[in-house]
Amino acid sequence: MENEQPAGTPPITTDIQENATLEPALQPSSAPVPPEMTKKRVPWVAILLGVAILMMGAIYGLQVGRSVKVQTPTPSVAPTANPTTETVKQRELAPVATASAFLEIERSIASLSAAINAMNTNDTSLNPPSIELPLGLETK
């Protein structure tokens, strides 16, 4: 059945065996990119881009959240009537600090300081009067 041909047509010769060793006539100038390599690069870029977008989004989200937090009024803390002794540390007074002599000295120094500050070394009310001396009646 396979070799049946119409009459008068030349017989078909199969040169497959003869041409089996032939090389292609034109070789490609550059080697084509292996499909495996292109398949690996594209997803990494996309992943990196995705991660970057996600990070930017996260940062933006955090900032927006923070600004919103600032705007929200915080409940005021009511001051306690009795502060704890741990927070307020007072210096201990010397026994002499309550003596009348000490208090008297303190008062006299404060009074002296006020008196010195109030003293005016250039009292303008004591400036001599400005008067005109030559009469200016002499004609030249």
Binding site: R91, E92, L93, A94, P95, V96, A97, A101, F102, E104, I105, E106, S108, I109, A110, S111, L112, S113, A115, I116, N117, M119, T121, N122, D123, S125, L126, P128, P129, I131, E132, L133, P134, L135, G136, L137, E138, T139
Partner: protein, 269 residues
Amino acid sequence: MRGKAALIVLLFISTLATPIRQIFASSETAYKDYLYQFDQYRTKQNNFKVARTEYLKYKTLLAETTALDTVKAMLSQRDQLLRSYLLLLNEKLNENTGLSTGDRQMYQTMIQNELKFLETHSQLIPSIGSLTDATNVSKQLESHYLVLEISIRQTIVALGQGDLQKLNKQYDMAFKALTDLSKANASTVTPQKQGTIERWILQINNKQNLFQQKMDQISVATGQIKGTSEQEMNILFVGVQKNLGEAKQYLLEGTSYMQELVNLIRYQD
């Protein structure tokens, strides 16, 4: 009986209070009088200026007579103004408790001499019969005025020195009391703190020494307030006033140190 005792106490207190009130009122009264005399002088000086302008312009007998009348009034008032000013200074000297008696008497004598000069000068004014006489009488004051101004400036400086000396006495008392207290309290403080206290006491004392040195400089400079012109004398006066300010600053700094020392002693640590 109680009523009588209360009345006697009241009378006693009022007797004590009266001279004090008078002392405080005297320089105030003198100042008010000085301001009034100054006001009068300005009016009479202006009247004279108008009359002088008319006389120099028209040279009429009427203008001359008006100029003569106004110049006599002005000259008299000028002496009166200077007199009231010197009396103000005299009252200020009386009230100044920081000045020594010797210094006060010295400056009051200077003022009395100037008042005598003005009295003699004012006695010449009624006898002025012409504008030439008026010019001559005026020239007597003009030639003496620099001496008068020097006396005035020296008195002003003395008043400032008196005020500072009064404050220095207070400083001295406070410093002594503070030193005594520190010594009495020495056993209750740590040796380290006592060392700091002693060091600060030395610094307070040092400020007072600097004050005293400045005051000595002022005393010397006050005696040198002279000069051939008003301008030269003013320069010397301004220099002395600057020294007064510096002396005050030393006292102020020393007092500030004393306040720090009080705070150091107040607390145990």
